[in-house]
């Protein structure tokens, strides 16, 4: 299914104040891949994500989702294909009730009410949040908010899931639950994160950004073991691949 492909070619972008954010980014992500987008703060991860659903338009280069280039006229289609989960669930959950929030996307797609209801309940069931449907978002815990945020996107049946820091601000158990949830999805996944251990568990491929450029793009097991590369990009090996402070095993 070709609409699961994300192709970015020579993408360049500078913010209105002149700060360059992306200097010619290239990659191609195919159907079903799970890709981690890592890099130090300010490396351009968020800017890149904002291009993937057409919020920002490329100043040079192009972004294609499947067979469609992102332009003004294809925005609706692209946004239905690319489900975007934001870092702060409070930005994502803007309706007064959880149910309304999950139903927001399908309703805007103009689906009939029965279909909206079915999709909403399915999405809530997928993330295990059916019991939260009548609650206002401000009464949810961090983990519940995150699960519901993902449901709001799943209800639109996207082919590609784009997530910004999905495990930030979660307690270890909630993080683990979220990771096993994500592992079940067979969507194409693009995850921007600093959580290298999650990358080790969830992603088969890693793209490293540094100063708005792709400095490495390859199999996760190779990149996550390359200490020099990670070091020079402001990153670290996943903790489980590092030395053990108790038994003194160096881990290399």
């Amino acid at each position: 299914m070709s609409h699961h492909i994300v192709e970015v070619k020579e993408l360049k972008f500078s913010y209105p104040d002149g700060t360059p954010a992306l200097n010619g980014v290239n990659f191609r992500i195919t159907h079903g891949e799970s890709v981690a987008l890592v890099g130090a703060n300010g490396a351009g991860k968020s800017t890149l994500l904002l291009h993937l659903n057409g919020y920002l338009t490329p100043q040079a280069g192009s972004v294609r989702i499947g067979d469609i280039p992102i332009t003004k006229s294809t925005l609706k289609q692209v946004r239905q294909t690319v489900g975007m989960v934001f870092q702060d669930p409070d930005d994502q959950l803007f309706m007064p009730r959880v149910y309304d929030d999950v139903a927001f996307g399908p309703t805007n797609l103009g689906l009939p009410p029965d279909e909206v209801k079915q999709r909403t309940m399915n999405a809530l069931a997928l993330v295990g949040a059916v019991h939260l449907k009548d609650r206002p978002p401000y009464k949810l815990s961090g983990g519940e908010k995150r699960a519901v945020s993902i449901a709001t996107v799943l209800s639109m049946s996207p082919a590609i899931l784009v997530m910004d820091e999905p495990t930030s601000n979660l307690d270890p158990k909630a993080r683990r639950q979220l990771m096993s949830l994500l592992a079940e999805f067979d969507h194409t996944k693009i995850i921007a994160t600093h959580d290298m251990d999650m990358v080790l568990d969830l992603c088969s491929r890693v793209i490293i950004l540094r100063g708005g450029e792709v400095v490495a793009d390859g199999a996760a097991k190779d990149i996550l073991n390359n200490r020099e590369l990670l070091d020079s990009s402001g990153l670290e090996k996943p903790f489980r691949l590092q030395g053990c402070p108790i038994c003194g095993n160096k881990g290399d």
Binding site: Q92, F94, P96, D100, F104
Partner: protein, 312 residues
Amino acid sequence: MQIVLLTQRKISFSLASSRAKRSVPPSSREILIFDIGLLNVCAMGSIDSSFFDIGRLDALSSKDSPVHRIDPRLKVLTTLYFIAIAISFDKYDPAGPVPLLVYPMTLMIIGEIPFSYIAKKLLIASPFVLSVALFNPILDRCPMLNLGPISVSGGLVSFASIMTKYVLTVSAVLALIACTGLDSICSALARMGVPKAFTIQLLFLYRYIFVLGEEAARMTRARALRSFGGKGLGMSVYSSMIGHLLLRTVDRAQRIHLAMLCRGFDGEIRHGEPSKIRLSDLLFLAGWCALFTLLRLYDFPAWLGKGLGRLL
């Protein structure tokens, strides 16, 4: 060094009474923590608790009672008519609208909304109304009626009238929200043709007041923890904090808009299937409106006064 030690000891003495039970000599670090805790409580108590209280309004609206079940549109219309009638009374007639209290009272009793809750909210908002009404007694000194040796000025009478109308209208609206829920009111307003700019604003205000409140509370806490002896709590810091909060809000608004766009927002919030208006809903509207009209046309407090006068 000597002086520092002395002042520390002084503080520990002043704290000693509150620590008598534990009979442990306080270290200076403990005193600092105690001091910060106290400051924190003073500065934060008000903001935190008032926000938890809005959540209570939400909890009340999810109850189930005959007035909760009335269609929101008709409740909104009834309340609007109520407000129109309440403010149409003459400004020198403070007693005239009092019988209208029956409407908010009924909502509160049937809807199981505690009086004390509404009363507290009325008190919180009263300074605003007081500041509006306060000038009446000063500006309008023309005597209206004489109660023995005391003459009551027109200003005082109109002051009383403003306060009566305030209590009536605001308690009715609070009771309406408490037995309907603000989100239902917003969708009712939207269905009745109120411009979506207003209804969406209202909806978002309600959703994000908690987030904004938490953000403000965090900032206040951070400031309180680093302000010692009242320093740093002044106006200049306050104004820069407000500015900062505004900038953060603008940023957040952009992110929310982005999140909405990602899910196909096109300027319209679509609410679910409209509920059907039942006969009981129509009776609610018709019954109350008829009563309000009667209370407006006939001066019941005056009749009551005359009747009592005759009896005495």
